[in-house]
């Protein structure tokens, strides 16, 4: 079975990639399997300078999920290019580089530095990190700001730009339409949902940042609904994510309208999840009589275009 998917800048041999922040820069999981197996690799967010992130505790477990408030800890874009990406160059797997910042200028600087390095296949503009005080989320909730940022980054980038949308907004369709109009080549969705957990023993929040981003199976129905809605109102491809743990989830994301599927939290429980999903896909597609990934994409609404409530046409 042919599992390949062709997206702007990303020629994927299969639709599975790890999600940003859940796979470091690849080194750790390369101890478990050959990273050439993956469709692509999304690396951890890069900012202009070194960031140390939030104080610990940074993670808490919740029902079928977890909260994280890492706070974009990373060595800075220059060190990522000089110290981290070279390791990944031994693999033929395309790299999707996650770009973060506090100001438009910082986003532009990081994007330009990564694009100019010639070492990444595409950028993923993270306008949706809920764990930093400045930047991130405000770009992710205001369509005008998001569009302006997207346009600026598009202007200085030679590689395609995917915009990673936040679910922490009242109308994600509006955000998607705005960044598409500003030139985005694709979308990534969803990032984590803002949540909180209180230790009933101490009476205090567990995370030192108090709130954190909820990920894992708990958020999957929200991701599916949002991808289903957004994929009907834009013409750019979507990398779907949020709670994927099994092959059936992958198919569900494709049917909702995603063209590729990223796996985040599930890597922590099962470091082999990505290759296992890739190996399991052909039989599953066969079982449901699909002969390619392409055929599955958006199937949940394509069959019923006329009656689809979110259709633009």
């Amino acid at each position: 079975m042919n599992l390949s998917v062709h997206l702007p800048g990303l020629s994927l041999q299969n639709p599975i990639l790890p999600a940003s922040g859940c796979f470091g820069f690849g080194r750790e999981y390369s101890q478990f399997y050959d990273l050439n197996k993956l469709g692509a690799i999304t690396i951890k967010a890069a900012t202009g300078e070194t960031r140390f992130g939030n104080t610990t505790p940074r993670v808490a477990e919740t029902s079928s999920g977890m909260l994280n408030a890492i706070g974009l800890q990373n060595p800075g874009v220059e060190k990522i290019i000089s110290d981290e990406i070279p390791f990944l160059e031994q693999y033929s797997t395309p790299i999707l580089a996650n770009v973060a910042g506090s100001t438009e200028e910082e986003y532009e600087y990081v994007a330009k530095t990564l694009s100019d390095s010639g070492k990444v296949s595409a950028l993923e503009l993270n306008i949706s990190c809920p764990n930093v005080k400045e930047g991130g989320i405000q770009f992710g909730t205001d369509p005008t700001l998001a569009a302006s940022l997207t346009k600026k980054v598009k202007d200085i980038s030679d590689v395609p730009v995917y915009v990673k949308l936040s679910p922490n907004t009242s109308d994600i369709k509006e955000m998607a339409i705005a960044v598409e109009a500003a030139g985005a080549d694709g979308l990534s969705m969803i990032n984590t949902l803002v949540g909180m957990k209180i230790d009933i023993g101490t009476g205090e929040p567990i995370l030192s940042n108090h709130t954190g981003g909820l990920s894992g199976p708990a958020i999957k129905p929200i991701a599916i609904r949002m991808i289903y809605e957004v994929s009907q109102v834009v013409n750019i491809p979507i990398i779907g994510m949020g709670g994927v743990t099994c092959k059936e989830d992958v198919l569900e994301f494709l049917l909702a309208g995603a063209s590729a599927v990223a796996v985040g939290t599930a890597n922590f429980r099962n470091p082999l999840i990505c290759p296992e999903l890739i190996d399991a896909l052909p039989e599953l597609l066969d079982q449901y009589a699909y002969s390619s990934i392409e055929e599955c994409i958006g199937r949940s609404w394509k069959n019923a275009r006329e009656s689809a409530p979110f259709s633009r046409s």
């Binding site: 750790e28 478990f32 505790p57 477990e61 429980r269």
Partner: protein, 256 residues
């Protein structure tokens, strides 16, 4: 050699108040040669509990690895209920253990508190094999929480402190250390952070400590488990406890 494997429970029994010792067997046990390394243990069925639980290697004998855990929440409660023969999925062996290989024919002090005691036992055995004289100071909340006292006695002197004075010295491990003025050349310590801080403050000889933090991946990919590095020796500014530790030189990190 990082591995994900189903280990089989050989024994799972209560050894003190709320404290259990579990012996597991499997292929990966042969690679568990470094005391201070840990297992990242999957708990529960399905995805209700998304995160694994880190537990230290307490001992390795033949094909069996032991862990000693205190029941404090869902995961450890679940572990306590698992019968012999049951499979437990682990990632192992993780992290860097205590640097014991060059410690030979010395007098060393091991200082443990509560569930920080387990990794020190495997360490004590390794140190003993290398001709070292071992003195151990262990702190527990109360008499009924004490475990492994005899096992440490077999390897050297073992002093016990309890918070409530129901056994041994009343007070903290640091009280025992002060009262005895042991003439030791090195110390190794594992326990709650406030204890480690007090230990570091009271010691003037080189020492190694094992740290705890809430973890996501357990392998260095998620940046959940960082601690502050001593900036005099490292511009990076942080360490990942799961990957760079959990054992650090006492001078290498700043405890918060």
């Amino acid at each position: 050699m990082l591995t994900k494997e189903d280990l089989i429970i050989v024994e799972n029994k209560q050894i003190a108040k709320d404290t259990y010792e579990m012996k597991l067997t499997g292929e990966v046990v042969q690679f568990m040669t470094e005391p201070g390394q840990f297992l990242h243990v999957q708990v529960g069925d399905g995805w209700e509990h998304a995160l694994r639980r880190p537990l230290s290697i307490a001992n390795v004998e033949r094909d069996n690895v032991s862990v000693v855990y205190k029941v404090i929440g869902f995961g450890t409660e679940w572990l306590a209920k698992q019968p012999e023969g049951q499979k437990i999925n682990v990632l192992a062996p993780l992290g860097n253990g205590f640097p014991y290989k060059d410690v030979k024919n010395q007098h060393v002090l091991l200082i443990g508190g509560g569930v920080g005691v387990p990794p020190l036992y495997y360490l004590a055995r390794k140190l003993k094999d290398q001709g070292n004289t071992i003195t151990t100071v262990l702190g527990f909340q109360s008499k009924d929480a004490i475990f492994y006292e005899e096992k440490f006695q077999e390897l050297g002197h073992c002093h016990i402190a309890t918070d409530d004075g129901s056994y041994g010295t009343k007070g903290f491990v640091t009280d025992v250390v002060k009262q005895n003025a042991f003439s030791v050349e090195k110390y190794f310590s594992c326990g709650p952070t406030p204890m480690l801080k007090a230990v570091i403050q009271s010691m003037s000889i080189p020492g190694y400590i094992s740290l705890e933090e809430r973890m996501g991946c357990g392998v260095g990919a998620c940046f959940a488990c960082v601690c502050e590095a001593n900036n005099d020796i490292d511009v990076k500014g942080y360490r990942k406890i799961c990957q760079d530790g959990p054992v650090f030189s006492a001078k290498e990190v700043v405890l918060s």
